[in-house]
């Protein structure tokens, strides 16, 4: 039964037939979508198991710590596949993002053996790695006895993969030769423009191409859309999370940095240059003229929901935030579009800073080999394809998923400009921060300084000079400056 269909799926898994060809064939054979899906999962599992002993840890159990996120949802939806493949039992705790990182810190700092693997941001590994809380995964990735030959480590987008690797030296380049692979990227966000096409058409403005245009367009939208709609949504809470999305993406596009690294490895603040001050001044002006009234309380959630509810005309934030707002039961679903954004008129392309959701292995895991089985499955191609085509597992971190015609078509159909935006900005996409252990201290203070500037408590020049002075003092106190 289904022998022909199985052959077709096998041909696809061997790369002899593309996804479209396989689906056409299955459709012609009269298979329902449900049956085809079941059959495909079964064949995928068999293909995965062909060259590698996935059952080596059968009967063991793992526990995961997860953030409430579509990536986690996609994994949970597909988790039975892993259990069937390996015989490993998996349990998990899911926490909302407000408290998630505190939970991780509490678990790891107490050397708790409760969790084997957990979701993490790449920035967090700059704390967890040197503290000895997580494991360098190179040991497993480079061991053919422990890693499925079809894993495809080279399939990961180079900039994203490198952003999860650091040698632990403050100021050390991410992805350097001596870097430790602290986590495996799972999904990532580039920061670009997501905008309400209907509002843009109503006001008669086109998509801004640089920061100067952004100021003008956002101001016009604020003035002319009506109904209390404001022009541009960006984050503003007193948190590191305010700095890393649109703000740093634009800032880096002007060639500016957070910190200087001297030849002897000493760090110093780099945000008090004239170019930096000019950028800050424009950014502050943009928020004052066209941002939300209560910008200083804005997090990922407010920026996103305002766009989805039609309270803002565009956001300069995570592309996937715009993606999520264009679906579901959002008021503006189907009305959003996407564009790459290079803040600097002289720049040839965007240079988005990226946020990466990744998976890391706890150093206190009781069974690291079994944990690695989960990690390689969860970050493997089959699960990535499943998540990208059946769930909201975007942005994928594997090049082959981005090449998948069905995936691209799905995005192009419902998310106009999304694929093009991704492809244009991907080459310049990476973490633009300097890797160092005071990341959260310095970026939180940077956000607080921005708040003071927007509230006109302090002029931009003076604010940045004070910030640089304070950062240099903290770096010196920590023995880094």
């Amino acid at each position: 039964m289904y022998e022909k269909e199985k052959d077709l799926i096998s041909a696809f898994l061997r790369g002899e037939v593309d996804r479209r060809g396989m689906l056409k064939g299955l459709g012609a054979a009269g298979l329902t979508a449900g049956t085809a899906g079941t059959l495909f999962n079964l064949m995928s599992t068999q293909a995965l198991a062909a060259d590698f002993d996935w059952k080596a840890h059968s009967g063991k159990s793992l526990k995961l710590l997860l953030n409430k996120h579509p990536y986690a949802d996609a994994m949970i939806a597909n988790l039975q596949t892993f259990k069937d493949l390996t015989g490993i039992e998996v349990t998990y705790d899911v926490f909302p993002e407000d408290v998630y990182f505190d939970k991780v810190t509490a678990a790891l700092s107490s050397s708790s053996t409760e969790y084997d693997a957990f979701m993490t941001g790449a920035y967090m590994t700059w704390t967890y790695g040197p503290a000895g809380w997580i494991t360098d995964l190179n040991e497993w990735i480079k061991d053919p006895a422990k890693t499925n030959p079809q894993y495809g480590w080279d399939d990961f987008l180079p900039g994203v993969k490198a952003s999860c690797a650091w040698n632990g030296q403050p100021g050390g380049a991410l992805g350097s030769e001596d870097a430790k692979q602290w986590c495996i990227p799972w999904g990532y966000e580039q920061n670009n423009l997501s905008y309400n096409k209907e509002m843009f058409d109503k006001v008669g403005v086109s998509v801004p191409k640089n920061l100067d245009e952004l100021l003008v367009v956002a101001a016009k939208l604020t003035k002319d859309v009506g109904g209390g709609v404001y022009g541009i949504g960006v984050r503003g809470s007193r948190s590191w999370a305010t700095i890393h999305p649109g703000f740093l993406s634009g800032y880096a596009n002007f060639g500016q940095k957070d910190l200087n690294v001297s030849a002897d490895g000493k760090l110093s603040a780099a945000m008090s240059t004239p170019e930096s001050k000019a950028f800050h001044a424009k950014w502050v002006q943009m928020i004052q003229e066209s941002g939300p009234k209560d910008w200083s309380t804005y997090t990922w959630y407010q920026v996103g929901t305002d766009l989805g509810a039609g309270a803002s005309a565009m956001i300069y934030d995570a592309d996937i935030l715009g993606y999520f707002m264009n679906g579901g039961d959002n008021k503006m679903a189907g009305k959003l579009a996407y564009a790459p954004f290079a803040a600097n008129p002289a720049a040839s392309a965007p240079t988005p800073n990226i946020w990466i959701w990744a998976l890391a292995m706890s150093n206190f895991s009781a069974d690291k080999d079994a944990t690695w089985y989960f990690l390689q499955w969860a970050t493997g191609l089959e699960h990535a394809i499943f998540g990208a085509t059946k769930m909201d597992f975007v942005n994928p971190v594997r090049a082959s998923v981005w090449k998948d015609e069905m995936f691209r078509e799905r995005l192009n159909k419902s998310y106009p400009g999304y694929v093009e935006m991704h492809d244009i900005s991907a080459p310049g996409a990476k973490i633009h921060f300097t890797a160092q252990p005071l990341f959260f201290d310095l970026t939180t203070e940077w956000a607080a300084t921005l708040q003071k500037m927007v509230a006109k408590e302090v002029p931009v020049d003076e604010g940045l000079d004070k910030l640089a002075e304070s950062i240099n003092r903290q770096l010196a106190e920590a023995g880094l400056g």
Binding site: S109, P130, T297, Q451, A455
Partner: protein, 307 residues
Amino acid sequence: MASVTQPGARTGGFRISKRVLPYVLSLPALLVCIGILIPFFTAVVYSFQRYRLSQPWARQFNWGENYLNFFTDPGFWNTLRISLLYAGVTVGLELLLGLGIALLLQRRSTINNFISIMLLLPLMTAPALAALMWKLMTNPGFGILSYFASLIGLENFRWASSPDTALLTVVLVDIWVYTPFIMILLLAGLRSLPTQPFEAAALDGVPRTFVFFRITLPMLTPYILTATLFRLLDSIQQFDIIYAMTQGGPGDTLTVFQVEAYLNFFQSTNVGRSAALLIILWAITYILSNVFIKNWLRLRERARGEA
């Protein structure tokens, strides 16, 4: 013949001597003391260390450097100022409001009892939830309080988003949550006051204001001091409301002790600095408690005619 229990209780088949019994009875209290003191002294030790979880190799005793750094850190002085200001303003206003409401509800009646129970509702709300509720009510776009503000000519009132009004906003939330606490304590105090002085004053036709300032208030002072002390200790340690609404912002407007200590520990993993902040906070609360307790004792002595 009825048996008489001899001193030196027999328990579980063995006799505990009179000398040992007091120690056995005080053992639970001793264990609680130890349970309290171990974390406290651990924090004291941490506060004298350079200790970042992200730099475990750099952990060392630093001769009080964490404390010395505070003297030259303008951020610390801002934290001290804003913590004391927040505590002073909230407790002062809650005391006035709580006393006012308690006086209004002083007479025992069904309606007064019902109102006093209704007024306790905010106290049943978790402060973090209250903060989120107020965050929605003060949203400049759709918040009902923003709408009311616009009716009295306060267009674009930014509540917690503006450095000028952030303190006012969180103080309002604190007042909403905790005024009932003071109200209920003072109401209990008012209703337990002896009636004779008031009856005598009524017979003599003494004006109400005189009765209030010369009889009610002095007799109520121990209750007021108790309520104030409880609230002051709570208020100077405020975290939930401020963090949920503003995360300490805008800028450094609301970086009170607990917010700073929390960010230092959980976000920066700077255990040494976080512990030093909390030890200073402990010292402040200790001093304040002492002042209040001494005053309370003096009042009690005066009431007994010992002073």
